[in-house]
């Protein structure tokens, strides 16, 4: 064994390699999360969304002479290069039961609930370590009257980046984000985003939530109902038809447009990544294959082992329930308490989010949540260190 002496401590190359693999495996943990929880709520939560409030649209008449159409000319900056050379032109047109748009890309749809509305652009970036993508969000927002809240109704992915290669929409992405009928003329979407607009700075923050629940605890929290949605027309997610065109968009070559010298520099620059990718593909399990294999094996063992397998089912069910705890509003329901015909406490419901209307409590709450995050991460780190030391520590 080749060993390296550093300050009288011996490290074997094998151990270093193992640490390297452990690092790879650590990053693949996010995929493990995807194994146990198919929806990509985590990606939503960690997405970074911030954009300037913008009313850059022109109002025109539609061809039918009845409805209004809106034409947008938007300069979208490339998230990575910062170059604002992606001129997008969108044309919004009223269709039956909603609005749709056509643009440079086939995956551009907008649904509008009611007027008056505002058109917003949100550039989002998310990195789940498998996919790096940049998406552009155009929403038609319903004004709730206090000029503070808007409910986003649409989400548009224009491009995303698996690693550093420019790519376009994928089946998995739309499967995760879209809840609507994509295969028909009209497009419906469940609103999943809520926005807080700062009218003084014209900036807004975006908080996401699939069930129309505001995830942020920073401001006035309230449930936004979907009563105004024609729910009969919203298909369940398992009936979503994904148009073939959005699944088989061409994958552009990242080196296209470069001269030979730039290509050489590009490949030299990415050479370590190629090696890392090769080692990863060799040692890190393919999660999609692993997921399919393990789920089929789970069903097989469930069928063969019968009641012996039930404890494992229980544990799986328990963890699944924890992982799928909904982000509903924290409402405490107090029952009606009466004794000998006298009612002491009338039944009522209390939304804990109402506590956060007070700025001081909200601030304390934010610190509390930060502290909890810190504690969880610290506990994990300490436990990981302990396990690592107990398993590998000592000797060479």
């Amino acid at each position: 064994m080749i060993n390296i002496n550093i300050k009288n401590k011996r490290f074997s190359l094998l151990k270093l390699l193992l640490i390297l693999i452990a690092c790879f495996f650590f990053f693949k943990i996010y995929d493990v999360y995807a194994l146990v929880n198919d929806d990509l709520e985590f990606m939503r939560d960690t997405s970074y969304l911030k954009a300037k409030y913008n009313n850059n649209y022109l109002r025109n008449n539609c061809l039918d002479g009845v409805h209004d159409c809106y034409e947008l000319n938007i300069d979208i900056k490339d998230f990575f290069t910062g170059k604002g050379d992606n001129q997008k032109r969108y044309f919004l047109e009223y269709q039956e039961n909603g609005w749709s748009s056509t643009g440079n890309y086939s995956t551009t749809y907008i649904f509008l609930f009611s007027q008056p509305f505002k058109l917003e652009e949100v550039v989002s970036y998310s990195d789940d370590l498998t996919y790096k993508y940049v998406s552009y969000h155009f929403g038609a927002f319903y004004d709730y009257g206090d000029n503070e809240y808007f409910n986003g109704a649409s989400f548009i992915l224009l491009r995303y980046f698996p690693e550093e290669n420019v790519n376009y929409g994928s089946h998995g992405y739309f499967d995760a984000y879209w809840h609507g009928n994509l295969g028909k003329t009209n497009y419906y979407s469940i609103p999943w985003a809520t926005y807080k607009l700062n009218t003084s700075t014209n900036e807004y923050e975006v908080y996401r939530g699939q069930e129309n629940v505001i995830l942020s605890k920073n401001f006035n929290l309230r449930n936004i109902t979907t009563d105004y949605l024609d729910t009969d027309k919203v298909l369940p997610s398992d009936e979503i038809e994904i148009p073939e065109s959005s699944m088989s968009l061409p994958k552009p070559d990242p080196t296209s447009g470069m001269n030979d010298f730039e290509k050489i520099v590009y490949h030299l620059k990415h050479f370590p990544n190629y090696i890392i990718d090769s080692i990863k593909s060799l040692l890190v399990p393919n999660t999609s294959m692993l997921k399919d294999t393990l789920s089929s094996e789970y069903e097989y063992l469930q069928e063969r082992l019968g009641f012996l397998f039930y404890p494992i089912e229980l544990i799986t069910d328990f963890f699944n329930r924890i992982l799928n705890i909904p982000n509903n509003a924290p409402i405490i329901n107090i029952p009606n308490i009466s004794l000998f015909g006298n009612t002491f406490i009338n039944s009522y419901s209390y939304n804990l989010n109402d506590l956060l209307l007070d700025n001081n409590i909200s601030l304390i709450y934010n610190y509390y949540m930060l502290f909890m995050r810190f504690i969880i991460v610290l506990s994990l780190a300490l436990y990981g260190k302990k396990q690592f030391k107990a398993t590998i520590g000592g000797g060479n």
Partner: protein, 90 residues
Amino acid sequence: MIFNILITIVLGLINLLFAWVPALPSVPEQFRNSVSSFFDLLFSNSGLVPFFLPMDVVRIAIPIILILINFKYIYSIFMWLIKKLPWSID
């Protein structure tokens, strides 16, 4: 790739082993429903949990904890596998 092959082989062997064993009866449906309703009761007010715990962190932490608990075995498998590879430097 190596792990995929390895897992396929191991699972194939398990399937082969259990193919000889007759399928055992499942848990009675009533019992299953009772346990399920108990879980429903436990998790009926789980909407309060995200208010006190950052669920985005918890959701990531749970798989990590499971991996850390079984770290010894994962390490053993890795070591066994790496030692089998022809790139060993011994």
